[in-house]
């Protein structure tokens, strides 16, 4: 016994030695693992923080104020913070787009006894300047003796200090709300109220003992819901899974929320429909009568109410509320007046509760005019995204009747493209049409342009016709673009004109009227066409005289008169000075009459431009002689051949060509005029930029030398190496001059360098 005691005593120092040894081992190991984080350069520290997950960054921020300041310096972005509130506390996630949500941390309230049993280290964490006693276990802060609301608010403020948070999703359960738990979280943008399950122990009891039915779920009272919504004033979307009991107050904030999804049947559905002012709504129609729905839809599509409303999604459990007959008979007349885009962009707010395109139940009515003819009385809180259109879809579409647009919803890029196109084009109208051929009533939805709508007709054949016409029109326009002015004259009568006859006429009438109003008779500089009948008769009289005396022309050397006017400009003589011809008629302009007589030309009788255009449009204008289509002009051809071409410069052909070019050249202006007349905003014409080269010049510049074959006898040669092309834009004179001087300097410098090289 004594021996044993002695050996035990001897063992004591050995035990201490061993203790010291293990302690030193632990300390060296710990020292080796230590890293002086704050001694690193700032860039390296940033890289380390960027490599950490959000939960690690959050934990690091609680270490010290200095570390918090460092993290606050960069404030990494979080797109969407999701906060789930349950009975125990909060769960905070970073919501990721295509991945599982990343858990950041959770909070939990723990009692003192619990921590005693679990032997966990109690630590002090400083959150927003207040020390909180807590236990930290796997990214979970278990706080002791602290009120929930204080922790919630403090942690949320702390998170805002750490990260740049764009939006906050809050998820509550019915139990929380019915227990009066309203989490103290600010700036909530999306709220989801989840359906509460009955307490677990009751479920088990019900299963095991089969004593009776499961007790009903707790219901949220509508006034409690309103209180919550009053608290979260920045709410953009709301979704309720659970049951709501009672009516909503008429001034409830719930009506102002942009997107509202109710997943269950509510008694207040008719009231809600009456007062909703948001952008999107999804309801279950179970408790709503058909008349209510029809009244709602009528008000909506006629633009009397719901001006912000873009989409309505419905679900019904019994029978289709809006039948085909209803749609055809009651909604059709109003549907014709709709002007709306093809697709509506579905913004995915409150994603957890949102209806996904693939999984969601197809709504019985999904449609809406976002762009109604009447102006908006109240602007929407957030301007809706570029509308992208939803077509009205019936609850049970017939196989051949309805084209469902939803399955063909375009991708984002396509949507963007569509939006661009929509800006360019007139938004297509959607109409309901009865099929004349089919015996039974069915409904078809098709896209039509406004011009097509004017034509009327709803049969399939009509549609085909219109399509084929549209096709030919498009083809024609393409051909015209390619051929340009070299359109074959023979085909003119066979092919229809690509412009609207009436529109062309009214356009030119408008132009002439506007010119008349602008005309100033006393303007001396204004060039006016001399009165044709008077001059022609004087010219005829002079011609007779001229036949007797043949005048030989002297070549002109000076093109200007002493007063500065060109030699071909002769003003009309004043009334007193006018001479009279043989017939006693006054000659207003003797020089011009002499010239006409000399060259055997007659001035056209006063052209009635509008009549000519009308004749051209109705193919009644005479063409006169025309050169053959495959004719190629040869400047060096014998004189006889060239003279034979003069036949084609007949007055009729000249008139025809003039009118034709005038009408065809005014195509763009006619289109603009027609769009203006229809009340569509004029699209800004693209200005030719200063840098943009002229289309003809590019080909010319590519050749160094080319000959201009304009004259029979001579050929002019341009050496393009020594020629500078100068563009002068009179809208930007200073820029043009600067460019010119720069160009001049550069050419000079090139010349100088070449000279130096030569030397």
């Amino acid at each position: 016994m004594a021996y044993r005691f002695l050996s035990w005593l001897q063992g004591i120092p050995q035990f201490f030695q061993y203790f010291r040894y293990t302690k030193s081992l632990i300390s060296t190991n710990v020292n080796q693992k230590r890293f002086k984080l704050l001694s690193l350069p700032l860039l390296a520290l940033k890289e380390i923080l960027k490599s950490m997950s959000f939960s690690e960054i959050f934990a690091l921020s609680l270490c010290s104020t200095k570390m918090l300041n460092y993290i606050n310096f960069w404030r990494f972005p979080i797109d969407c913070l999701s906060i789930i509130v349950d009975q125990n506390g909060l769960k905070v996630y970073n919501r990721l787009k295509h991945k599982k949500d990343e858990h950041i941390f959770s909070t939990k309230c723990t009692s003192k006894h619990e921590r005693l049993f679990r032997f966990l280290e109690i630590m002090n964490v400083r959150v927003m300047g207040t020390d909180v006693q807590c236990i930290w276990e796997k990214d979970c802060i278990q706080y002791i003796e602290t009120t929930d609301s204080f922790i919630q608010l403090a942690i949320q403020k702390h998170l805002h200090q750490l990260f740049r948070i764009s939006s906050i999703d809050l998820e509550l359960s019915e139990n929380n709300i019915s227990n009066g738990v309203h989490p103290n979280i600010l700036n909530v943008t999306d709220l989801l109220v989840k359906k509460a399950l009955p307490p677990a122990h009751r479920l088990i009891l019900a299963d095991e003992e089969e004593e009776g039915p499961i007790p009903p779920n707790p219901k949220i009272k509508s006034n409690v819901l309103e209180e919550i919504i009053e608290k979260y004033r920045n709410l953009k979307s709301l979704r309720c899974h659970g049951d709501i009991d009672g009516e909503l107050s008429p001034n409830s904030k719930i009506f102002d929320i942009e997107e509202v999804f109710f997943d269950d049947v509510y008694l207040f559905a008719p009231t809600f429909l009456e007062s909703f002012e948001g952008r999107m709504v999804r309801l279950r129609w179970g408790e709503v009568f058909e008349n209510d729905i029809l009244r709602f839809v009528n008000k909506w599509i006629s633009g009397k109410k719901y001006l912000n409303l873009e989409m309505v999604g419905t679900r019904h459990s019994y029978h289709p509320v809006i039948g085909e007959r209803t749609t055809l008979n009651d909604l059709r007349p109003m549907a014709v007046q709709w002007q709306r885009p093809n697709f509506y962009e579905y913004r995915r707010r409150c994603r957890k509760g949102s209806v996904s395109k693939s999984r969601g139940v197809p709504p019985s009515l999904v449609s809406a005019p976002s762009k109604l003819p009447s102006p908006r009385s109240t602007p929407s809180p957030n301007p809706p995204p570029a509308p992208s259109g939803v077509l009205p879809v019936l609850s049970k579409p017939t196989a051949n009747g309805i084209k469902d647009p939803l399955p063909n919803l375009p991708s984002r890029e396509e949507k963007a493209g569509n939006r661009k196109k929509m800006k360019e084009k007139e938004p297509p109208r959607t109409t309901y049409r009865k099929k004349k051929n089919s015996g039974t009533q069915s409904c078809s939805v098709e896209l039509k342009t406004s011009s097509e709508n004017d034509g009327g007709g709803g049969s399939k054949e009509d549609k085909k016709k219109s399509n084929s016409q549209g096709g030919t029109r498009r083809r024609k326009s393409a051909e015209n673009k390619s051929s340009g002015s070299k359109e074959s004259t023979e085909n003119d009568e066979k092919t229809p004109r690509r412009f609207d006859k009436e529109m062309a006429k009214s356009f030119f009438q408008y132009v002439m009227d506007s010119r008349k109003s602008r005309k100033r008779c006393d303007d001396a500089l204004l060039e006016t066409m001399p009165e044709s009948s008077q001059l022609n008769s004087s010219a005829r009289a002079l011609r007779k005289k001229m036949k007797k005396t043949l005048k030989v022309d002297q070549p002109e050397t000076n093109f200007f008169k002493p007063n500065g006017d060109p030699i071909w400009m002769f003003p009309e003589l004043p009334v007193g000075e006018r001479l009279k011809d043989e017939n006693g008629e006054e000659i207003k302009n003797p020089e011009l009459a002499a010239a006409l007589a000399e060259n055997n030309i007659e001035i056209e009788e006063k052209l009635q431009l509008i009549d000519q255009i009308t004749n051209y449009v109705t193919y009644e204008l005479e063409k006169g002689p025309v050169l053959s289509e495959d004719y190629e002009f040869d400047a060096f051809a014998p004189l006889e051949t060239l003279k034979s071409n003069n036949e084609c410069f007949d007055q009729k052909s000249m008139t025809y060509n003039t009118i034709k070019n005038m009408v065809e050249g005014s195509g763009g202006a006619i289109a603009r005029f027609s769009s203006k007349k229809n009340g569509i905003e004029e699209v800004a014409r693209p200005n030719r930029s200063q840098e943009e080269p002229l289309p003809s010049s590019s080909s010319a510049a590519s050749t160094e030398l080319f000959q201009l074959k304009t004259c029979i006898m001579t050929s002019i040669t341009f050496d393009l190496k020594n020629v500078i092309r100068v563009t002068y834009d009179r809208h930007h004179p200073i820029t043009s001059m600067k460019k010119f001087s720069k160009k001049l300097n550069s050419t000079n410098s090139v010349e100088q360098t070449t000279q130096v090289e030569k030397d």
């Binding site: 890293f35 984080l37 690193l40 390296a44 690690e56 934990a59 270490c63 010290s64 280290e121």
Partner: protein, 201 residues
């Protein structure tokens, strides 16, 4: 002319000049010399620019003294150049701004960085100084991994982060350390004033 019909000419392979790989010489602050290939140097933006600016030929590299890198020791520089040689010719990653940054540590890098934290600290310093992006990413990821599953108290120990109280204490100590000198200066100034000098200087 087709390939088959082309005349065959015997070429003396020894006569063809073989383009030699250029190896630059670098010297650490403890006078250790390293020879690094031109391709490996491209991983470091700082060294690459330096070398380009110097415009060394292969003769210059041999004849002229080694390029001195004065703030990195030999042990760290060896690790850096080992990494550069292993990753030579690889594309330099561009930061896409995503947080958390997704970085995978390759096996070679993991082995290379199986070092004590002091050396790892120096390696990060060197990677930052020499602007070796991928080495910085990898080494920072290694440091970030140390924080996995740690409580704030543990993080304080791992990263040697002083608590608020310690910071306060250090600040006070620094002020106190600074104060005596300030007090001395003030005393000297007053004494000179008493002696009759108008100005301090």
């Amino acid at each position: 002319m087709s390939v088959e019909n082309a005349p065959v000419v015997d070429v003396d392979e020894a006569a063809i000049p073989v383009e030699k790989k250029m190896y630059y010489r670098f010297e650490s602050n403890d006078k250790k010399e390293f020879r690094v290939s031109e391709l490996a140097i491209q991983q470091s933006e700082t060294l690459n620019r330096l070398v380009e600016a110097m415009g060394y030929t292969s003769e210059d590299v041999e004849n002229k003294p080694a390029i001195a890198i004065e703030n990195i020791d030999g042990k760290t520089l060896k690790l850096v150049f080992q990494w550069c040689e292993h990753h030579k010719g690889e594309a330099i990653p561009v930061d896409d701004g995503s947080v958390p940054k997704i970085v995978e540590i390759p096996e070679f890098d993991a082995k290379l960085m199986d070092i004590d934290n002091g050396l790892l600290f120096k390696l990060i310093w060197a990677a930052d100084y020499l602007n070796i992006v991928q080495l910085l990413n990898v080494s920072c990821k290694k440091v970030a991994n140390m924080a996995q599953g740690k409580t704030p108290a543990q993080l304080r120990r791992v990263y040697l982060l002083p608590s608020d109280e310690e910071d306060e204490a250090a600040k006070r100590a620094a002020q106190e350390a600074q104060d005596p000198r300030a007090r001395e200066v003030e005393e000297e100034f007053e004494e000179r004033k008493r002696q009759g000098g108008n100005s301090f200087f």
